[in-house]
Symmetry: D3
Amino acid sequence: MPRPVVLFSGQWADLPLEELAQKVSEWGYQGLDLCCWGDHFEVQRALSEDNYCPKKLDLLARYDLQLSVLSNHRVSQAICDRIEPRHRKILPDYVWGDGDSAGVQERAAEEMIATIRAAQKLGVGVVSGFSGSALWPGVMGYPAPNAEEVAEGLDDFAQKWHPILDVCQEANIRYALEIHPGQVAFDLYSAERVLEVLDGREEFGFTFDPSHFHWQGIDPAEFLRRFPDRIFHVHIKDIALNLNGRNGLLGSYLPYGDSRRGWDFRSPGHGGIDWEAVMRGLNSIGYDGPLAVEWKDTGMDRDYGAEDACKFVKRLDFPRPA
Amino acid sequence: MPRPVVLFSGQWADLPLEELAQKVSEWGYQGLDLCCWGDHFEVQRALSEDNYCPKKLDLLARYDLQLSVLSNHRVSQAICDRIEPRHRKILPDYVWGDGDSAGVQERAAEEMIATIRAAQKLGVGVVSGFSGSALWPGVMGYPAPNAEEVAEGLDDFAQKWHPILDVCQEANIRYALEIHPGQVAFDLYSAERVLEVLDGREEFGFTFDPSHFHWQGIDPAEFLRRFPDRIFHVHIKDIALNLNGRNGLLGSYLPYGDSRRGWDFRSPGHGGIDWEAVMRGLNSIGYDGPLAVEWKDTGMDRDYGAEDACKFVKRLDFPRPA
Amino acid sequence: MPRPVVLFSGQWADLPLEELAQKVSEWGYQGLDLCCWGDHFEVQRALSEDNYCPKKLDLLARYDLQLSVLSNHRVSQAICDRIEPRHRKILPDYVWGDGDSAGVQERAAEEMIATIRAAQKLGVGVVSGFSGSALWPGVMGYPAPNAEEVAEGLDDFAQKWHPILDVCQEANIRYALEIHPGQVAFDLYSAERVLEVLDGREEFGFTFDPSHFHWQGIDPAEFLRRFPDRIFHVHIKDIALNLNGRNGLLGSYLPYGDSRRGWDFRSPGHGGIDWEAVMRGLNSIGYDGPLAVEWKDTGMDRDYGAEDACKFVKRLDFPRPA
Amino acid sequence: MPRPVVLFSGQWADLPLEELAQKVSEWGYQGLDLCCWGDHFEVQRALSEDNYCPKKLDLLARYDLQLSVLSNHRVSQAICDRIEPRHRKILPDYVWGDGDSAGVQERAAEEMIATIRAAQKLGVGVVSGFSGSALWPGVMGYPAPNAEEVAEGLDDFAQKWHPILDVCQEANIRYALEIHPGQVAFDLYSAERVLEVLDGREEFGFTFDPSHFHWQGIDPAEFLRRFPDRIFHVHIKDIALNLNGRNGLLGSYLPYGDSRRGWDFRSPGHGGIDWEAVMRGLNSIGYDGPLAVEWKDTGMDRDYGAEDACKFVKRLDFPRPA
Amino acid sequence: MPRPVVLFSGQWADLPLEELAQKVSEWGYQGLDLCCWGDHFEVQRALSEDNYCPKKLDLLARYDLQLSVLSNHRVSQAICDRIEPRHRKILPDYVWGDGDSAGVQERAAEEMIATIRAAQKLGVGVVSGFSGSALWPGVMGYPAPNAEEVAEGLDDFAQKWHPILDVCQEANIRYALEIHPGQVAFDLYSAERVLEVLDGREEFGFTFDPSHFHWQGIDPAEFLRRFPDRIFHVHIKDIALNLNGRNGLLGSYLPYGDSRRGWDFRSPGHGGIDWEAVMRGLNSIGYDGPLAVEWKDTGMDRDYGAEDACKFVKRLDFPRPA
Amino acid sequence: MPRPVVLFSGQWADLPLEELAQKVSEWGYQGLDLCCWGDHFEVQRALSEDNYCPKKLDLLARYDLQLSVLSNHRVSQAICDRIEPRHRKILPDYVWGDGDSAGVQERAAEEMIATIRAAQKLGVGVVSGFSGSALWPGVMGYPAPNAEEVAEGLDDFAQKWHPILDVCQEANIRYALEIHPGQVAFDLYSAERVLEVLDGREEFGFTFDPSHFHWQGIDPAEFLRRFPDRIFHVHIKDIALNLNGRNGLLGSYLPYGDSRRGWDFRSPGHGGIDWEAVMRGLNSIGYDGPLAVEWKDTGMDRDYGAEDACKFVKRLDFPRPA
């Protein structure tokens, strides 16, 4: 049976959920990977209002959409990052507070615990998001952290996330860290390190998005083979390289859509990802969860693209041998 | 006439300068790009002790070495960076102080002004170094800075560096920012932005090191063509890519020399840089300054490699047409 | 709104226009890029017979086809070329006359002025064609023209074309020179030179056909980015490279369809052009004109191919963001 | 025994032969491929002055240089070309005359016969040069010649060259047409055609210069395998491709040395030719003639480069198995 | 008219022919390439039972399927191979007998003659299969056979196959040897040798399966151009390379479907074969026979894949020009 | 200290050892990897004649050559192979006997035990050779062995080699199986299997020759990283791929030196091996044994090449960091 094709709502939070749900259903999607910003899902209301969650589920059911995953990338980013002004734009005011680094980190961690609780109320089994990272500025920067400093940075992550994962365990929810620049794990070997530092606890795994591997030169299928039992969620996002000698992989401060960039995100099937290899990789590890389109493409009409992506993913997901 | 081949002393600061000078001379080098750490060059002593600079010059003269460039990457890194514990290992105690971010930045800026003054006393025309960057964590991280935040970050750089460049102007010294990850300029378009934000002031240009372009997918010769009059200094350092599907360009927290890394530095001529193209690029822009070997190669004996590199660079630097 | 997909009638002039119009309409095209040979469009009759143009427009209207562009590549080729016997086969007898070079060039220029006038009568805003070139034999030949000779060749072009462009200006028609081997502009930098020599006059721009860039090693999207306001018309033609060490890019005198050739034209989507990149390039410069299939493929049934191409181009032309 | 390494004097005709001979000898060359322009070799004087040839041979002998090949590319170009003003700069006045096409062609043919006679007086067994071509403007231009026109163009070549080859036969001299853009043969299949149209007469073969194959995408070693008994002479010239999406293979009217060009000539060993494969190809066909460095490199000092090239070729020419 | 798309039944012999025929018909196939194992086709019954062949043809006719080709790869493998235990699993007991090499070879040859006779009764014009090869273990093994030993091995093949081909000639049936590892012909030049050793007898040609060329680095279209009149049958099977530095082309004893393999078979269109080039190659040689899908893909549901493949091949087979 | 550079004498057995020793010494080699055929080393005489070994050692000592390794590829090939006529040319008559497979295998095994004993007498610590393989014909052939048959084939190897390795253990000699087509281990994963089936016994490791990996698409450095403690010996042999669409990796029965082959062996440094990566791989695993040039290159004079190779390897072997 093919996997459910759902849309990650994060890039659509400018639309009221009801409006998005109607579109998504018409485009052929079978569900949503729901983000915790805009009116899509408000964590504090979910915990404090009894009928908040049932109403959301109801709304989705009216459009025949399942709720596969709850995502809170924005708040989770603040847990291990050194907080800077740019973080303010992704955080609710009550998490930002006075913007002092330690306080923001703490409130962000509390909000993630609240997110887990809210997911439990929704009956969702996977929460997806980021981690932030105290190590990030040194990963490619100068001076590079030495072995001891790396170990300290990863310990800091473990200390901050164990309490959240404890709640996951209790709530029977799995946390899917998206392998992504800016997080403690951004490639294959850093993912190995992160699993080690958590002693491989079972609540913790990954959201796999091949677009972040491609420009780093990593084979996404190889990542799947390396962590067959840790792929908790999948984002379908494409990317095109456009290297011509002048531009580069680090983006030159240029916004998405600027044709001088060395790479840019694309509607699935319109970039360079070898989707056949990705799908066979998912098949070979027995991944049966949703395929969540994360739609980003500055060169294509958004509605057209979301529908096109849904059809593309369905064509892609051929049946495996019995 | 071929350009002088010199050695950047930064990776050799564990050796007393006299010992290094003797070796360097025997290996065939014609001079040094002198770093401001170890006993190689102490900025405060240079300013406070009358015979410090003459003695250094004397020492070099005894080994028939010229002094082309003074380099202070370590201190300059702290000027725009948000200071973290990992910075402590690259700063003199009197710059680090209590480690508070704003204070460290300020003391680092003062030390760079002192470095310029010291260079003046030495009679050196180019100071090479870094800038640090308030923007760096967001370059590949999340959330990316928006256009306004990028502008603010670059303004911050300009504000902090104008006073230093004013001293350069007065002292008739050029500052050569190394295009390097972690700095305000790390690729071609970010270098354009940085020149713009400084209104193209003439004291400011670049240290060109092709190894930092290579893994980003940028053509080093294209960079030279883009900034023909801003190449103030050149580092000769090689790099080898080793992508195999598992590793990646961001290095996975792995130290240099770990065979799992996606790339590693190499003795010049032992990596993937197209040196023929680099040399022709330098010829076509009329660069006549020194070629400074920055020797890093965890897989080769250091003394053997430094001598090998000197010969390599001399072979490479064929005469241009009259 | 997607761009109109039309067929360039030049390769179909063996069919009476009425027969072609019926086919073209059934295949799903929305219009024609009409050539001035065969019975498709006869310039002199258009000028001398009052109802010639209305009848042509009527014919097309019956099949629901718009007339986007009038093309006269054949005659325009003779304006700057040194005339040789092979030109006779592409010229009307009254232009060829006695075949003397200067006379043919002159009569060809007059015929192009007549073509502009005819386009005006038809109500068509763009005339597409060639230029010929006094420089062509020396471009890759021996001895290469020196800088002065290049300048003279381009001046010759400007002198011969200014009068034609003057008529364009008066008639409010734009001339779209196809960037093509054998013309004054055949690649990006030669196109720059040609615009310069015409002082950038606004009636003059380009017909963009990516197939001519591909075998030269030029990125078609780069050309679009370089001349965003000069793309007046677009040909959709594909090409496949087939280099195997024995054949080469200059074609060895071998006719299209000979499997020993180093490259050959192909039905759109059956060759090596990166159409996704071309379409995004057209989107990014805001090109809103027709997409004219120029169908050439010796290995495919012509009728099947033309229909297949129409569907292909429609799928390709996805909506841009609002 | 290694093949003699000689220098083609064509690019050095600004120097008196005596001055060149001295340099060439010091650089390590064993002989010259002598051009018929400058004071290097004057065909008419050679025929009319009894001691002209002995004196030249004497001069070379004083510097221990052999005379391997006599080259007259300039005059031979005019035999089949349609003559244009740019030809004037490569022809002696007595060949150019009034510049009328038919007359120039005829006088050029006579001069080539004189060149053969002069070679005979010198005791040289190979004359190298071009052919010109009536077909050239149509090879990549528009309209392409059809099969009949190609046949006519090649017949024109055969008619014009048979009389010259008759003199070759009588004088026991072989003519080596350089496979080169602008000539009747410019790639593998056109070379096949040219041999056919001459009925394979034995006086006729090729000067092989791999640099002209490289940018066309042709494997030079494959050419050698195809014509094992027709390689009469070899030019050693290198070339570097520099395609970056903007430039192209047809050169954009840009002079050599302009960094925007898609390719440029290089001193041997400094470009992209696979010399190992070329040398093994020459070995496998048993070529035992001279290896003539044709030195062109706008980015390198000429004297340095010529000496460097001589050493390079000697290193390259390893002994074959007995 | 498009070529018939048929399914090779060899991988489906676990299903009774009737069950397969029904499926195949529903999936859109127009016929079968019938294997001589399972209940699909039993050679001895076909010869001994009068109504065996008519019944089979009847069965197929009921599902509107044509019978294009009869295939007996298994038995034909044993004709020239040195027999080993692994052969037992592909041979009927009456061919295996006591397993003694010479006896098995002889009985296999007799069975192939019976297969030809059976094909004649069925009215099928092409029999497809293997040859086995006495030379195979030495092709890549040690010590390699010398020229004499190669000649002996090919003579052995000719001696064993001439009697079978004599029956083919008499029965007006063509034998199509699949170019495949393990056979006397496995690439282009070995196919040339095999045709030579048979003096080019006309009953003998090839089954072309591009998947066996791809991993060997051979261009399938080049093979078609080399043997335009010897392509008697075509298998449509795809293959994907997956080289990552650790695995290799010889497969490491790993079974199909093991993700560590260097290559694996794929459903047509899901691998690396350039089908456009294959189809144009078939067009250019005028091949008009069936396109037989040989379906092997361990990563895809078999029924889904067979239907998907049928649609894929039909889309691929565009009409040629008249 | 650099590793000793030695010559493998196997390709020089046509020369008397004394003659070879003199040459080898003059070329700059420091020793020999001595083969057990020709007069280089006769196993039975070594065991039966008391002064045979001392005399050999004496001879080498006179030319200042060390004896690093004893090699018996020829006899060892026969231990697991099914014996065919082509084996006769590599075996002594007393091993071949009547050529019956089981008997030859047995006698070959005895001869290998004798070889170990002889090595012990010589004081050599490593014996290098092959294994033969009952599995080889099925590795790429048809039908492929199933998992059970693979296991049987490897067990057969273990049974036949355990007694030989027992003697190695007793004699304190290591056996270095060359990873090579035709042996039980020919790539990385098959080498893993072979170590497993021997329970990793310590006397058993590999002779590493990167040329056999290259055409299989395997990264030699990856092999070194996988088996850091099993590299007992190293062959330095180069290889060049020459794929052009017609030829292929399996060699088409063509002898070395035929220019139609898809690959051919080359003198070290004249092919496609990335020697820098190989040398760094050897450094990173701490290999300190000899580097044995195995010289094969049909396109180069043998004596010239052997000397050239010695110099090449010495340049390559740069010192590692302390």
